[in-house]
């Protein structure tokens, strides 16, 4: 599918134009493509938006709308943004189903999407507007469409259509009329835009400018009369009647309605009968043979429209053109019934597609119990729980697949299949019934079963709607046999409350939910599949994975071939974290770091752990492929969320027996991301990404399709485990505050600045003594802190901000994750300049952030705190020095210390007391530390040396001023391994 260029949007962003609370009212204009939407704020009648300057290419207008008053309603002027149909389609067609916008906006978004759907089905006709302009209308609509229009109209709140109506005072547009007008606008606009983009030049009906075409009114009226007929033609086919016993005769005759039954011979002449019938468009259950029209009651007859006879003739002509065999019908003055020989029936059946294209339906009567031929795939594989752990069978092995044909739910045997294959006619008598043998049947009978792997079979057994046996056709039913079926059952019935006790060597006691996690991971690993562990940050995904590694090493401890080494792939900033936790929880474990210029995999033992980064995988995936990995773990798997990126592609090339993805973001909110992760764990389970988007992602994200949501859930649920901090079994388990160090790398720019500052200072210090020395050291420290915060802070620049600081990158990631999880965050920095930069950076990225600083009055501070507590802010940036007492910030789930003072323990206590962190909900505190810098060293010192920490606690930073040159150099010189890959 070639991707279009998105239609141009006004320069204001999506979030600006569709703030929560803004209402959208449709204003119909002639011709339809000039209609527009008024976007206005019901709480601010007459005023402009509070915080944004109107962008230059968005028009603001004053429009009269009918608004409620204390008694009744009245027409008032409202200042609104004018959204043309073009911009409305661009914005609203892609509105996610869960967007926080007013109901009127959501409802119109659905209307627009429905309009596009109908245009895609070519339900458009040229039309002439009442004033004589060329335009298009959305027609014809079938009964389902009309029901949808009614439902859409019923779901529109009054604000969506409150334009005063000329029909009378106190009246507004009729909602159904408004919906139809909007649909016409979508049709009119789409044709013009499509013509322009396709380079088609048709001045009348095909260009944006208005044209007067009153002389075409008779033609378009004719066109509408024919294409939107009140009733459509239906041809009902009756097979030849067998001579029945006398008792059955009357019931058979009643089937044929008014068809002339002169002689018994004529009835039983072995010919097929085609009866012409009419079906009402507005009520498809009303179907009447045309021969019976005169006998109908007037109210019934009227539901077939006011030109029934003409509709029959027009329909028949289309039918005859599609299928000449029907010509004799048009030779009857009052066409009603046609008799066909068997070969003529063949001709008729060969025209089925043409007839459908002409709008004529063909039916077999239900009274004769129409059989339907169905087929399904029967799938068998030896891959199952027993074979999974043996390395001979993998999930991409082919499996046995066969087609099975069913008539009325019972499988056809060999001789019956042979009868079908040999059939020369279009209909065959099988098991006492007539079965149609059309081109589909012949294709089916000849078709080879598709090639399916274990994973395809697994997906099918889990009810995947993505099965691709015939290209674009819906997936056939699949029946799974053998050990594979056993595996599916085991997957679907696994009890997630099962706990697996942690291996003896693990130096920790796992919490209940972590034991459950271990059991689940072990099950999927033993089944030879894969898993995605998506617990909230802070719940201990790392320890669960380490426990899994140890657990798997123990399983085969008495066999020569152990499970295999484990590869952990993570962002550079987390490598230290993994090493530290592995050292803490599995001290006997041999851990290798595959990173840096001298890396190699030579002495990796079968039960070892290897840690590497996404960057290294990108360059060295070939080397990594030489090891027979047991587990391959992708930490923060959203790093490979873009399936086209080289990171994702390289990651796929590293083979392992089981792949585990770890992520803290709610993947079910970002379906393309979910696809990427699942496709890495179990390649092929979700098919190709285009089809996934068409069949599942777009219906779920934009249309709110619950069936699709359910299908997706069924398919991925066995492989996804996500626990939240707020889950009932978990929250009490968690301590109120979890702290972690986030070690981040410096950017090349920062490294250069850092080194330069250190070099210069050390040079000067070699010559300086006394007070000057003390001062010089302190100013160096200040510079280093600023550099590690952000080069722009050090250099006194105001921007650009992105990608220049490791800390900023880490904060972006943490805050994005928090916002995704609907959590609030506090960010602490000592520097107001840094605070301002952070707030600006967040705001630009669409995150609601504010700065609480010393310059604010008490009231202003309280307002900010109130906003934060009311979840009107995602991030509150605080300057430590601005702290007062008694500010309640219990809504915070995340706290980030962007930079540190020198006595962290004291500062922590102060902040906790001041802001009551952790008293409302469990909080994760992240301390950003730049790797290899003075921050890192000090943090290490504080961790390991008690005496030093006491000194620091008591005297602030002055102790550093007293260090001699060597000690100082040791503290401030940048680590040499910081030149490694990102």
């Amino acid at each position: 599918m070639t991707l279009l260029e998105a239609p141009s949007l006004p320069t204001a962003s999506f979030t600006d134009l569709l703030r929560p609370g803004l209402e959208a009212t449709f204003v119909a204009v002639e011709p339809a493509r000039e209609s527009w939407f008024a976007l206005w704020d019901p709480d601010e009648l007459g005023g402009l938006f509070e915080d944004e300057q109107p962008q230059s290419d968005i028009e603001t207008v004053t429009v009269q709308l009918q608004r409620p008053r204390t008694h009744g309603t009245s027409s008032v002027p409202v200042t609104a943004t004018k959204l043309s149909i073009e911009h409305a389609v661009a914005l609203l067609a892609r509105l996610p189903a869960n967007a926080t916008v007013a109901t009127s906006v959501k409802a119109w978004s659905r209307v627009i999407r429905f309009g596009l759907d109908a245009v895609a089905r070519a339900r458009i006709l040229p039309w002439v507007s009442p004033q004589g302009w060329d335009t298009w209308r959305l027609d014809p609509l079938d009964a389902e469409d009309i029901a949808m229009v009614d439902a859409l109209a019923a779901s529109l709140p009054a604000t969506g259509f409150c334009v005063p109506s000329a029909a009378g005072s106190g009246r507004i547009s009729d909602p159904k009329h408004a919906v139809r007008s909007c649909l016409d606008s979508v049709a009119d606009h789409t044709v013009r835009v499509a013509a322009e983009q396709a380079g088609i030049s048709v001045p009348v009906f095909g260009e944006h400018d208005r044209l007067r075409v009153r002389h075409l009114s008779p033609w378009v009226t004719d066109l509408a009369a024919v294409h939107c007929a009140a009733s459509s033609l239906l041809l009902r086919i009756h097979p030849p009647v067998e001579k029945p016993s006398a008792a059955k005769k009357s019931s058979v005759e009643s089937v044929f309605g008014d068809a002339p039954v002169d002689e018994a011979d004529e009835l039983y002449d072995g010919r097929w009968t085609v009866v012409v019938e009419l079906r009402s468009q507005e009520d498809p259950s009303l179907v009447v043979p045309v021969g019976d029209l005169r006998d109908l009651a007037p109210e019934v007859r009227n539901r077939l429209g006011d030109r029934v006879d003409i509709d029959v003739l027009v329909g028949l002509r289309a039918a005859v053109e599609a299928c000449p065999v029907l010509l004799p019908l048009l030779e009857q003055v009052r066409p009603s019934v046609l008799k066909l020989e068997e070969d003529e029936l063949d001709d008729l059946l060969s025209c089925l597609d043409a007839l459908t294209a002409a709008g004529v339906d063909l039916h077999w009567p239900s009274t004769l119990l129409t059989p339907t031929l169905k087929r399904r795939l029967v799938v068998h594989s030896e891959f199952g729980p027993q074979s999974a752990m043996k390395s001979t069978m993998g999930i991409d092995n082919l499996i046995d697949v066969d087609w099975e044909f069913l008539l009325d739910g019972v499988a056809l045997n060999e001789s019956e299949l042979q009868l079908l294959s040999d059939a020369k006619r279009s209909v065959v008598s099988l098991r006492g019934r007539w079965v149609r043998v059309d081109s589909t049947t012949s294709t089916w009978l000849r078709a080879k079963p598709p090639k399916m792997t274990v994973i395809d079979g697994l997906a099918a057994a889990l009810g995947s709607p993505l099965g691709d046996a015939d290209g674009d056709n819906p997936a056939p039913e699949v029946v799974v046999d053998g050990p594979l079926a056993e595996m599916v059952t085991r997957l679907q019935t696994f009890d997630r409350s099962t706990e697996q006790t942690e291996p003896a060597k693990l130096q920790a006691t796992l919490r209940g939910y972590q034991r459950q996690g271990l059991a689940w991971l072990a099950e999927l690993t033993e089944l030879g599949l894969g898993a995605c562990l998506a617990d909230d940050m802070g719940l201990g995904k790392t320890i669960q994975v380490l426990a899994l590694h140890e657990h798997m090493s123990q399983i085969d401890s008495d066999v020569d071939a152990a499970f295999g080494p484990t590869l952990i792939v993570c962002p550079t900033s987390l490598m230290n974290n993994w090493e530290r936790e592995a050292a803490k929880f599995l001290p006997d474990l041999t851990v290798h770091r595959f990173h840096g210029p001298k890396r190699c995999l030579d002495d990796v033992g079968r039960s070892d752990l290897v840690i590497t980064t996404y960057g290294v995988v990108r360059t060295d995936h070939e080397t990594l492929s030489t090891v027979d990995w047991g587990l391959a773990v992708a930490d923060e798997a959203q790093h490979a969320k873009n399936p086209q990126s080289s990171t994702a592609k390289s990651l796929r090339k590293v083979p392992a027996r089981t792949r585990i993805a770890m992520t803290g973001t709610p993947v079910e909110n970002h379906l393309t991301e979910l696809w990427s992760i699942i496709d890495w764990i179990l390649p092929g389970l979700l098919g190709n990404v285009e089809r996934f988007r068409r069949v599942l992602a777009v219906p779920i994200e934009r249309d709110g399709d619950t069936k699709a949501t359910e299908k997706l859930h069924q398919l991925v649920e066995p492989f996804l485990l996500r626990r939240r901090k707020t889950d009932p079994g978990i929250a009490p388990d968690l301590p109120p505050k979890t702290e972690r160090d986030v070690v981040v790398p410096l950017t090349p720019e920062q490294i250069t600045l850092y080194r330069a500052a250190v070099e210069e200072a050390l040079d000067e210090l070699a010559k300086a003594k006394g007070i000057k020395r003390h001062g010089r050291i302190l100013s160096l420290l200040t510079s280093l802190k600023q550099i590690t915060n952000h080069p722009a802070q050090y250099l006194g620049e105001s921007g650009p901000l992105g990608k220049r600081s490791g800390k900023l990158d880490a904060v972006e990631r943490l805050v994005d994750s928090a916002v995704d999880n609907a959590e609030s965050t506090l960010v602490f920095s000592q520097y107001v300049t840094m605070g301002n930069m952070l707030v600006e950076h967040f705001t630009r990225r669409g995150i609601r952030a504010s700065l609480l600083h010393g310059g604010l009055s008490v009231n202003q501070r309280q307002t900010l705190v109130d906003d934060f507590q009311a979840n009107k802010l995602d991030v509150l940036v605080l300057s430590l020095k601005a702290g007062g007492t008694g500010l309640n910030l219990t809504q915070a789930s995340n706290v980030i210390h962007y930079d540190r003072w020198w006595n962290p323990a004291v500062e922590d206590q102060a902040t906790d007391r001041a802001y009551r962190i952790g008293q409302g909900k469990p909080v994760t505190v992240h301390r950003l530390i730049t790797e290899g810098t003075v921050e890192d060293r000090v943090a290490e010192l504080l961790r390991n040396k008690r005496e030093l920490s006491d000194r620091v606690l008591n005297s602030g930073a002055s102790w550093i001023g007293n260090l001699d040159d060597n000690d100082l150099a040791a503290l401030v010189t940048l680590d040499s391994n910081c030149d490694g890959d990102a």
Partner: protein, 252 residues
Amino acid sequence: MGAANGVVWANEWIEAIEDSGSFGEDVLKAGARLARNQSFVDVEVAPGLLSGRITHRGSTYTAQLGVQVLADDQWSAFCEQLLEQPAKAVALILGELPDGCVDVPLVPSAGELYPDCNCGDWNGVCVHATALLYEAARLIESDPFVLTTLRGRGRYELKSAIESARTESDGQRAGGRVSGHPRGEDPGMPAAAAYRRQPEELPTARRLPLDIGEPVALSVPPPVDSGVSVDDVHALVVAASKHAKNLLYLES
């Protein structure tokens, strides 16, 4: 469709003129040549009369062709014939002039034609009037209802006659649902009631089938002078359909 059918009628018209012997061979040839080389302007088609202006050797002349209109009972007979053959009746409803209706000669004989011109040539029929005869053939070829108009009844008159005759004889009474989903005026709704009512839940979208297929072709072709053809409309519909489909599934 109209065009293919028009050729037949145009040829009959020309045959009637050329085989009649009422016009000299030379003047016919000259008229045909003139009609080929020059264009008529301000052509008017009315019941019983065709007129137009043409420039010849530097001067502009107005030629006229009087045509004998058919009597009312002849037209009734014509319609009755059509009504007895549904295939032809529906052809007319859809904008074709069905051929093969015997008994009622639509094409006038030479004696029913009264050519005239203001060029002052008194020697029988002048070259300008003859040219108009061929121009008539050309018009009939692109729209055969030019013929019926000249003979007294235009396309829509005939269409209504056929339609109402069929509907009446069908026993249809007034009051049936009007076909064509007419867009009436907005009936409006009381604002107070609108604000009081509780909106229903938003409906889930219906899913577009993956394979849509080609749109249905227009069954009623546009008039000849509309500036748009069946193929034009079809191309627009196909383009719009593809565009809408892509827009629905575009990445955000």
